[in-house]
C-alpha cells in the first residue's frame, strides 16, 4: 500500500542525496519526493511516498532515516488525519472547437487553465493524488502532450481523530 513519510531535516548541502542514497542502498523504491523550507530557518520538510505491502519495510525505512544525523524527525503519517496535496500541470491538445468542453470538464476538479495556445491548453490542478489521477484520465481522450507533477506534500491535520490503529514506529 501507499505510505506517506514526512521528515524534517537540517537544510545542509547533500542532505537530499544522503537520504535518497539510503533508499537506493536499501533497495526501497520512492514514488515521489517533495522538499521545501519549513517555518524554521535552516530546517526543511520532505514528504516521501512509497509503496510497500510490508510493515517491516516501513519500520526499517523509518529507523534508517532516523539514524541520519541531519534528520530531526521522521513520521509515518499514513494512518493519521492528514492534508495531502499534489500539483499537476497538464498540457492537453485542444482546438478552439473543444475548448469550452475542456473548461466544463475540469471545473468540478477546481482546476484552472493557465495557458492557451493555438492547439493546446495547460491545465493546473491541485489536490490529492487520486483526484489528479482522475482528471488526467478524463483528459487523456483529448490527447495529452505533457504532464508535470510535483509529487505529494503533506502534514498532519491540526486535530487528530482518536484512532487506535496508529502505528508509532518506536521500539519501546
Amino acid at each position: 500500500m501507499k505510505r506517506i513519510i514526512t521528515l524534517t531535516v537540517n537544510n545542509r548541502a547533500g542532505v537530499l542525496n544522503r537520504i535518497t542514497g539510503l533508499f537506493t542502498k536499501r533497495h526501497y523504491n520512492i514514488e515521489s519526493i517533495t522538499v521545501g523550507h519549513t517555518e524554521v530557518e535552516g530546517i526543511s520538510r520532505m514528504t516521501f511516498v512509497i509503496h510497500t505491502e510490508e510493515d517491516a519495510v516501513v519500520e526499517q525505512i523509518t529507523k534508517q532515516l532516523n539514524k541520519q544525523i541531519d534528520v530531526l524527525k521522521v513520521m509515518d503519517i499514513t494512518d493519521q488525519a492528514i492534508v495531502a496535496r499534489e500539483l499537476a500541470l497538464i498540457k492537453v491538445v485542444s482546438t478552439p472547437s473543444n475548448r469550452n468542453e475542456i473548461y466544463s470538464l475540469i471545473e468540478p476538479f477546481r482546476a484552472t487553465i493557465i495557458d492557451v495556445s493555438k492547439d493546446s491548453v495547460v491545465v493546473q490542478v491541485t489536490g490529492e493524488s487520486e483526484k489528479v489521477e482522475a482528471l488526467i484520465d478524463l483528459l487523456r481522450s483529448y490527447g495529452i502532450k505533457e504532464i508535470a507533477r510535483t509529487g505529494t506534500t503533506a502534514f498532519t491535520r491540526g486535530t487528530q481523530k482518536h484512532s487506535s490503529n496508529m502505528k508509532p514506529y518506536s521500539i519501546v
Binding site: 547533500g14 542525496n17 517491516a56 529507523k63 534508517q64 532516523n66 539514524k67 544525523i69 541531519d70 519501546v172
Partner: protein, 573 residues
C-alpha cells in the same frame, strides 16, 4: 612550538587566529589523538606542512588502504577512534574499502580527505573526485568544510559521532583553500546535534520483560556480538551469564567478549561455528542477542533460524532490531548498561539445568576436529600451535578466508580486544595493516598477523612500515598456494572447477621479507613449524613466517549457503 603557545593562550581569549590546517591539528590534539595514519598528496600539502612540526606521531603507510586498515586495527584495540588523512581523488578513493569495512564492523574512525580548492570543485579538476557522494552510504556521517571557521566544530562533532552510539567512520572533506586560509579557532562550542541522540539507557519495561522471559525459559541462550566489546561489557556479560546460568555463543566479531575456556561457552555460531553452538540456537526457546546483528553468515537460512525461540534483541542501534529477524523483546541501549541492569534485577533463575547438561555433553561429543598428520603441516594444528606458543594472550589479526575461520575456531580468545578481523565486509588484505595499528595501540602486546597467501599479497607493501617502525609483529602466512576459501567453495559447489583460485606462481616470501629488511622463515612440517614459531616469538622484532600447509584442507564443520544451522556438514571425522 608555535601551536603549543597558542593552546596555552586559550584561556585568555577564547579564539585565536589560525589557518585551517593548524586548526585541524590543534583540534586533533584537543581530542588526544596519538597517531595519524596517512599519505600526503597535493590537496593535503598545507596540512602536511603543519604536521611537519605539530608533534603528533604520523605513520606513512605505503598505500591509503593500508592506512585506513591500520586505523581500524588501532581503533579496535585502543577503543579510540583511528585517524586517517588521505589526499583528494585517488587518495580518497583508495580508502573506500576501509571506510566500508569500518562501517559494517562499527569501528570508530575520523577520516580526513583533501579536496581540490573550493573555486574548482565541480570542474573535474586534477585529482578531483566527489568524495562526499562516493562515501555517503559507507560512512556514519560526513562533512565538507565550506567555511574555515567551521573546522573545530566539525572535528569535535566528528569525534563525538564516531565514538558514541553505534560507532562508525566519519569523513571530513577539506578543500585545499580551507586548509590555507585563516579563521578564528574556537573549540569551546558545545556540540549541538538535535538529530543525533543515541539511546544508552534501556527501557525499564523491556528489561522486565526480558527478566521474565529468562525466568520462564527452559532452553535459553545468549548470542553475543561485537557490541559487547564496543560497549566494554565483557565483565557484565560474564557476571550475568554466570548469575542466570545462561550458555553463551559468540559471533565471529564478538570473540573474546566471553572467555572461550568458560564452561558456559559453546563456541562461535554460524557457517563455520561449532555444532554445539548452532544446535543450541536451533533448539533454544529464548535467544538473547546482545550487540549482534544477525548477519546471514551467522543465521544460515532464516526459515530455520531459532524456529522455536522467543527472540530478545539488545542493541544500541534501533535500526538493527527487527531488520533481519522478528523480535519479541527489543531492548535499545548500551550493552554495558543493559547487562548491568539485568544483573541487578531480582528475577529468579529459570529451570534450565537439563538444557545445560545436554549442551555440556554435546560439547564433549562434538568438539572441533580435523584429521591430524605427522608428515605435513595441518593449518588447524598451526593455529593450535600459535595459541600454545603465545599462551593465548596475543592480539591476533587476520585477513579473510580459511585461515580466518581456523583462527576463529582454534585460537581460544579469553579476553576482549585481542581479536581483529574483517567480519562484515570480508576484506582481503586487512590483516597485515590492521596489525600495525593494533601494535601501535598496545606496544607491549604480542601481535600475530595471521594471513593467507592471497590476502597478504594485496597489502604486503606495508611490510615497509613494519620495518621502518620496527614493530615486533609476527606475520604468519598460512600458505596453501591458493585462494583457499574460494577453492573450497569451488570444490564443494562447482564440481572442483578451480577457476582462477590456484596461486601457482608465488614469490619467495622469505626473500620478500629479506628485501624489506624483515627476518623471514619457512616451515613445511609440524616440527619445523614449532621451531619457527618458538624462534619468532622469542625474537625481538618483526618476523615473517611462510607456513606451507596442506593445500587441499577445508574448513569444517560448515553450514552450506541456503541451509539451516541444524544442517551442518563435516561435524564428525
Amino acid at each position: 612550538m608555535v601551536l603549543k603557545a597558542k593552546v596555552e593562550g586559550k584561556n585568555e581569549a577564547s579564539t585565536t587566529k589560525m589557518s585551517g590546517a593548524e586548526m585541524l591539528l590543534e583540534s586533533l590534539k584537543r581530542e588526544n589523538v596519538e597517531v595519524i595514519f596517512g599519505y600526503p598528496g597535493g590537496a593535503v600539502l598545507p596540512i602536511y606542512d603543519k604536521i611537519y612540526d605539530a608533534g603528533i606521531f604520523h605513520v606513512l603507510t605505503r598505500h591509503e588502504q593500508g592506512g585506513i586498515h591500520a586505523a581500524e586495527g588501532y581503533a579496535r584495540i585502543s577503543g579510540k577512534p583511528g585517524v586517517v588523512i588521505a589526499t583528494s581523488g585517488p587518495g580518497a578513493t583508495n580508502i573506500v574499502t576501509g571506510l566500508t569495512d569500518a562501517m559494517i564492523d562499527s569501528l570508530p574512525l575520523v577520516v580526513f580527505t583533501g579536496q581540490v580548492a573550493s573555486s574548482v570543485i565541480g570542474t573535474d579538476a586534477f585529482q578531483e573526485a566527489d568524495v562526499m557522494g562516493i562515501t555517503m552510504p559507507i560512512t556514519k556521517h560526513s562533512y565538507q568544510v565550506r567555511d574555515v571557521s567551521e573546522i573545530p566544530n566539525i572535528i569535535k562533532e566528528a569525534f563525538y559521532i564516531a565514538t558514541t552510539g553505534r560507532p562508525g567512520p566519519v569523513l571530513i572533506d577539506i578543500p585545499k583553500d580551507m586548509a590555507i586560509i585563516e579563521g578564528e579557532f574556537d573549540y569551546s562550542k558545545e556540540i549541538n546535534l538535535p538529530g543525533y541522540q543515541p539511546t544508552v539507557m534501556p527501557n525499564h519495561l523491556q528489561i522486565r520483560k526480558l527478566v521474565e522471559a529468562v525466568s520462564q525459559a527452559k532452553k535459553p541462550v545468549i548470542l553475543a556480538g561485537a557490541g559487547v566489546l564496543h560497549g566494554k561489557a565483557a565483565e557484565e556479560l560474564k557476571e550475568y551469564a554466570e548469575q542466570q546460568q545462561l550458555p553463551v555463543i559468540h559471533t565471529l566479531l564478538g570473540l573474546g567478549g566471553f572467555p572461550a575456556d568458560h564452561p558456559l561457552f559453546l563456541g562461535m555460531a554460524g557457517m563455520h561455528g561449532t555444532y554445539t553452538a548452532n544446535m543450541a540456537i536451533y533448539e533454544s526457546d529464548l535467544l538473547i542477542s546482545i550487540g549482534a546483528r544477525f548477519d546471514d553468515r551467522v543465521t544460515g537460512n532464516l526459515a530455520h533460524f531459532a524456529p522455536n525461540a522467543t527472540i530478545a534483541h539488545i542493541d544500541i542501534d534501533p535500526a538493527e532490531i527487527g531488520k533481519v529477524v522478528t523480535t519479541k523483546i527489543p531492548v535499545v541501549g548500551d550493552a554495558k548498561e543493559v547487562l548491568s541492569q539485568l544483573i541487578h534485577q531480582d528475577g529468579k533463575r529459570g529451570d534450565n539445568q537439563e538444557w545445560l547438561d545436554q549442551l555440556a555433553s554435546r560439547k564433549e561429543e562434538f568438539p572441533l576436529c580435523y584429521h591430524g598428520s605427522t608428515e605435513a603441516l595441518k593449518p588447524q594444528k598451526l593455529i593450535e600451535l600459535v595459541y600454545e606458543y603465545t599462551d593465548g594472550e596475543a592480539i591476533v589479526t587476520t585477513d579473510v578466508g580459511q585461515h580466518q575461520m581456523w583462527t576463529a575456531q582454534y585460537y581460544k580468545f579469553k579476553k576482549p580486544n585481542h581479536w581483529v578481523t574483517s567480519g562484515g565486509l570480508g576484506t582481503m588484505g586487512f590483516g597485515l595493516p590492521a596489525s600495525i595499528g593494533a601494535q601501535l595501540a598496545d606496544r607491549s602486546a604480542t601481535v600475530v598477523s595471521i594471513v593467507g597467501d592471497g590476502g597478504f599479497q594485496m597489502t604486503s607493501q606495508e611490510l615497509s612500515v613494519i620495518h621502518e617502525l620496527n614493530l615486533p609483529i609476527k606475520i604468519m602466512i598460512v600458505n596453501n598456494q591458493s585462494l583457499g576459501m574460494v577453492r573450497q567453495w569451488q570444490e564443494i559447489f562447482y564440481q572442483g572447477r578451480y577457476s582462477h583460485s590456484i596461486l601457482s606462481n608465488q614469490p619467495d616470501f622469505v626473500k620478500l621479507a629479506d628485501a624489506y629488511g624483515i627476518k623471514g622463515m619457512k616451515a613445511t612440517t609440524e616440527e619445523e613449524a614449532k621451531q619457527v614459531l618458538k624462534e619468532a616469538i622469542e625474537f625481538d622484532g618483526p618476523v615473517l613466517m611462510d607456513f606451507r600447509v596442506v593445500p587441499d584442507e577445508n574448513v569444517y564443520p560448515m553450514v552450506a549457503p541456503g541451509k539451516g544451522l541444524h544442517e551442518m556438514v563435516g561435524v564428525k571425522l
